[in-house]
Amino acid sequence: MADNVKPRVKVPSKASAGEVVTIKTLISHPMESGQRKDKDGNIIPRSIINRFTCDFNGQNVIDVTLEPAISTNPYFEFEARVDQSGEFKFTWYDDDGSVYEETKSIEIA
């Protein structure tokens, strides 16, 4: 597991029914591309987050494939329409098999 991987998510806690809310996510991760070499000329193995998904009450909102050219600490900002109260579930998949998860609930006010 890469060091110091920490997901962060910003979702409004309340919304009106049918409102489109902005969601921001960031995960600290080195996103080593696999193209670089160390001091001795050996290739530093690729180690990236390769997939990011967001689900709302079990329904997929976004599903992203990440490629090695994406820089360190990948940040995603996207919008979702909220029709009912529920829970956003965010999942990041690491090359090394680790899966990082975060959830945020939102209420219809």
């Binding site: 110091n4 920490k6 962060r8 910003k10 960031l26 600290s28 820089s71 360190t72 600490n73 940040y75």
Partner: protein, 283 residues
């Protein structure tokens, strides 16, 4: 294509009312919708002869980059602040102490960054924030000193800046600081390297202009440590000095050298009155 670009730029100038492309952007920085930052003053301190007004480097960056600093969630420098908060509470060294053992919460150091560098009476020399941190580590904690550009060190300076955000820089230049300030000033106006450039040539005579693709700022350091998009990490003041001097094609001084400490005193004083902004976001 060229005509379209031109039309676009004319439209943008008309919209924002900017006099030219090169001027610092007219904009106001409020972080998280609550911390109002002083990023522009109408009048620089009298002892800064070459500047009529002061601008934080924030004004010279693109709108997208400026926006990243408005919200801590969007500011990648905050990752370093979070990391430093953990280190703050972690005991290290033979004394079994952490930063928190003596200082409590990081907020207890509010205001410290604004007066750095500061003459250390007990040691009889000019001290930067990095030197104070290392004194704590070696003398109070019995821990090993951090390197000037170690991630832990830069992160800790970010945390200590973070708790002072919004406070105007107020570095003392008189009394025991005066000789350092004079030396730093002399350096600021000395041409270095094969390109024979002084700090002033770019950051005083030509701020707002472009040097090739780079929009020259006033070289203010109130926003340090700075998260640079180009290297995707936090950068210390001295590593930025080093980069500038290298760009003049000169042999540079080292981080923590007496030359850079003196230069830091002088350059920091040029920003007296601007808010502490670190960790800021730049390109």
């Amino acid at each position: 294509m060229k005509i379209r670009t031109l039309a676009g730029s004319v439209a943008l100038v008309a919209l924002t009312g900017m006099a030219t492309w090169a001027d610092p952007a007219e904009d106001k920085l409020v972080i998280n919708g609550e911390i109002e930052m002083i990023t522009h003053t109408e009048k620089a301190p009298d002892y800064i002869e070459g500047l009529s007004e002061q601008y934080s480097g924030w004004h010279f960056r693109d709108a997208d980059t400026r926006d990243m600093e408005r919200d801590d969630f969007d500011n990648p420098g905050m990752l370093a602040v979070d990391a430093a908060k953990e280190v703050w509470n972690t005991a290290d060294g033979t004394e079994g102490k952490s930063c928190a053992s003596c200082h409590g919460e990081p907020e207890s150091l509010r205001g410290v960054r604004a007066v750095m560098p500061k003459f250390n009476e007990a040691k009889g020399e000019m001290y930067t924030l990095e030197m104070y941190i290392n004194d704590c580590r070696t003398e109070r904690m019995g821990a090993e000193a951090w390197g000037w550009n170690d991630a832990d060190m830069v992160n800790m300076t970010a945390l200590i800046s973070y708790v002072s955000r919004g406070i105007p820089m107020n570095v003392a230049i008189d009394g025991p600081a005066a000789p350092y300030w004079e030396k730093g000033k002399e350096m600021y106006y000395t041409r270095y390297g094969q390109l024979e450039l002084s700090c002033a040539n770019c950051h005083e005579d030509n701020y707002g202009n472009y040097i090739r693709a780079d929009h020259l700022s006033q070289g203010q350091i109130n926003g340090f440590p700075t998260y640079r998009l180009k290297n995707a990490r936090l950068n210390s003041i001295h590593s930025r000095f080093k980069g500038c001097i290298r760009d003049t094609r000169a042999e540079t001084f080292k981080e923590g050298s007496p030359e850079f400490i003196a230069l830091e005193v002088y350059v920091a004083s040029r920003g007296n009155g601007l808010s502490v902004e670190g960790p800021s976001v730049r390109n």
